[in-house]
């Protein structure tokens, strides 16, 4: 099972480009997409989900061009968009039945499948209430359930942990990890720790381009030896921020502990080298200060 993306470009108009000459090959496992707002993550996911067409480039799933034959991937696709909605007057059963119809699933086992998915996302007790009365977290869970309805081989999650609280995020990560054995999972998130915990590979994007792709260790190497921590007087923080890429700050009485990227040539006296994390590398790759 392979998803092969070659030289994908998406231009919205003369001045706005969503994706630029993007190439990547995916096999079973979890790919985490990292990038700032406007990096092109959602655009890429929409193209793979066949709801947006590229301006240039090709997209093959198991050797079939899914730009010209989108139904080939749609049968095995699970997609959780970033800002999806629901019909508020339907209850969870009715809604999942509707989505099942979209995916072309029916038969006697459908209701049992829906029951089990609802149980899996813990919505059984509320399944007969209209979805309009659900909380944000509950809606997100029904979104996850619908994505899994058709035993997808390709799962696309665009910011899936938005609206989930910390504990629920942990459960979601576990769920995704369990599914990854026989699936291509593409996951975007602003929360680097979500990606860090579950992704087999990470792709860092910026301005519609793929900056790099590799295992977490590969990505972390970029910032190795570039990350430092230093204690500064609180009053100096503003001027420090204007010169360095600050990753994190923490107050310690009247001083501030600052974690920053030096980019190899300008280490502030008193700094201590720190072990680079995925977040450090991501910021190192996407920020251009110092």
């Amino acid at each position: 099972m392979t998803l092969e993306i070659k030289n994908l470009t998406k231009k919205y108009n003369k001045h706005k480009t969503g994706l630029s000459d993007y190439s990547i090959t995916l096999e079973k496992g979890i790919l985490g997409l990292l990038g700032p707002n406007g990096a092109g993550k959602s655009t890429l996911m929409k193209i793979i989900a066949t709801i947006s067409q590229p301006t240039e480039g090709t997209l093959f799933f198991d050797g079939v061009d899914i730009v010209s034959s989108p139904d080939h991937i749609r049968k095995v696709l699970g997609y959780l968009p970033q800002d999806f909605g629901v019909y508020p007057n339907l209850n969870a059963y009715e809604f999942l039945n509707y989505i099942a119809a979209m995916k072309g699933i029916g038969g006697k086992g459908l209701n049992q499948r829906i029951d089990m998915l609802l149980e899996g996302v813990n919505l059984t007790a509320d399944a007969k209430r209209p979805i309009g009365t659900y909380s944000g977290g509950m809606r997100q869970r029904i979104g996850i359930a619908q994505a899994l309805l058709n035993d997808p081989k390709v799962l696309i999650f665009d910011e899936p942990t938005v609206g989930l609280d910390p504990e629920e995020r942990v459960r979601f990560r576990q769920l995704i990890t369990d599914l990854a054995d026989d699936c291509i999972i593409i996951l975007s998130s602003h929360i680097v720790s979500d990606i860090e915990t579950i992704a087999d590979e990470v792709a860092v994007m910026q301005s519609g381009r793929l900056i790099t792709k590799g295992s977490q260790q590969d990505i972390m190497k970029y910032a190795e030896g570039q990350v430092f921590e230093v204690l500064l007087p609180a009053a100096d923080l503003a001027s420090f921020k204007s010169r360095y890429s600050v990753i994190d700050t923490g107050r310690q009485q009247d001083q501030v502990r600052v974690r920053y990227i030096s980019r190899g040539n300008d280490v502030v006296p008193g700094s201590v080298a720190a072990k680079a994390s995925l977040e450090d590398s991501y910021l190192f790759l996407t920020q251009n200060k110092a």
């Binding site: 989900a49 709801i51 749609r74 339907l90 089990m116 996302v121 509320d126 209209p130 909380s135 979601f172």
Partner: protein
Amino acid sequence: MKYFYNIIKADYLQRTRSYSFLITLVVTVYIAYLFVPLHTAKYTTLDVPGFKGAYNSAWAGYISGIMTTVMLSMYGFLLVNNSIKKDIETEVGLIIASTPISNFSYLFSKQLSNFLVLLTITGCTFLVSIIMFFVRGTDYPFVFSAFLYPYLIFAVPAMSLVASMAVVAEVFLDRKSILQFIVYFFIFGFTMASIKIQGADSLITLLDPFGLKVITNSITNAINSQFHTHINDTSFGFIFRGKQDFQVFVFEGVNWQLPFLLSRIVWIGISLALVYFSSFFFHRFDFKQSVSKKNNKPVQLTADLVSDEKEMISPVGISRALLPPLVFDYSIFPFVKTELLLMIRKGNQLLWLVNAGLWIAMFFVSLPIAHSYLLPVLLFLQVIRWSDLTTKEKTNRLHYFSYAAYRPLFRILPAQILSGIIVAMVMALPVIVRYAIISDLFAVVNIINGSVLIILLAVCLGIITEGKKLYEIIFFMLTYSAVNKLPITDYLGGAPHDNHLVYISVLPGLNIILVLVSFIVRNYQSRHI
């Protein structure tokens, strides 16, 4: 004052930057072109039996101004009665509610925004009326004031009132769109009917919100003085009389009286007073979540719910191996079922009682009345069920799923069309059955064609404009036409037609075009989010 201006500006721009508004504008410009027909036309817009006005500036300007007032007062309400609703749907209302803006300031800004939208359209018809005067070329001189005054004195106060009525309707009838339509058109119809009842010299003329009695009096006075008759019967609207003998009279405009001019200002004051009054009852976006009445039970934070919020996704997860095997089923019937469910649950459930009453009545009243009056009204009462047939996916942000579904174009769209047609057919069933019993196949085919047309119109306009407004306005105009038996827009075949075969073949042709356009545009949309 600056922030007030910014609110109005943003609201106005948001509403006018839409396909729906643009198309409404184009349709209005076309209608404005028809407002002042030539003497050779088979219809008239201000009907005085046996007489037609000479095409001078006063006739062109006043008739155009008064027709704009009447027509825009009628469907302008539909165009602007969603300004607060938009803030509810987008949840911008919650942000507004947390700002220091007073209820009156907010509602007043909405009234002004409504007013500006209506004035934009009025301005366009004003320009069209002047252009048409020159295009048609008459021997009479162009008098600018003859065009300006009727718009300024009739249309502007009327539009202010319509803008206010839309705000008041939204405040008191919340999101009950269909009830808003019914109440507004009852008031509108009553006002129009009262114009005919009022005596020429009655002081009540001053209470006419649209000022129409003044112009009908002026016209009948002009005819009576030029031909020494006693005409007092005038009607507004698109009236088809075919070719009849007529005499031409010269209309020089209205001799304005100060009390009448003051009454126009008073009507603007009344419109603002209505907004002020309604501000005491404005919900300020503090209500329960929008679900159907049946299901609109408050969400109680019960122990179950609280514990559920904490339990979240099952710790054991979802084991794919334990799920039942997949069975593929690509039929469209599950969609039809859901679409029907959504339509049935839409809107106030009490309306089903009204539907049932009209439906049963269609079995027992005379067949022409059932066909020409009850059926169009019953179909129009379903407007909110049909207007979002193809827009609700986007409104509810479900289009991500439906566009990524397996063959959406040949499964979901046909299901939406089919379910709409099923509802329309059920509504029309009593009349269809009665015509079938008396073997009037023409009438049966006309009703089926017409019912399919309004569904396809909903589908096509929804897809093109991605909104409901244009369809609601056009459907209303079609209903108005059907009830008034205007041949050219008689979509249900209730009016007599010269050539049955031509009529019966036009509607299927239109339906095929609508289907083709719908499929082509939706095909593009589904791959270009």
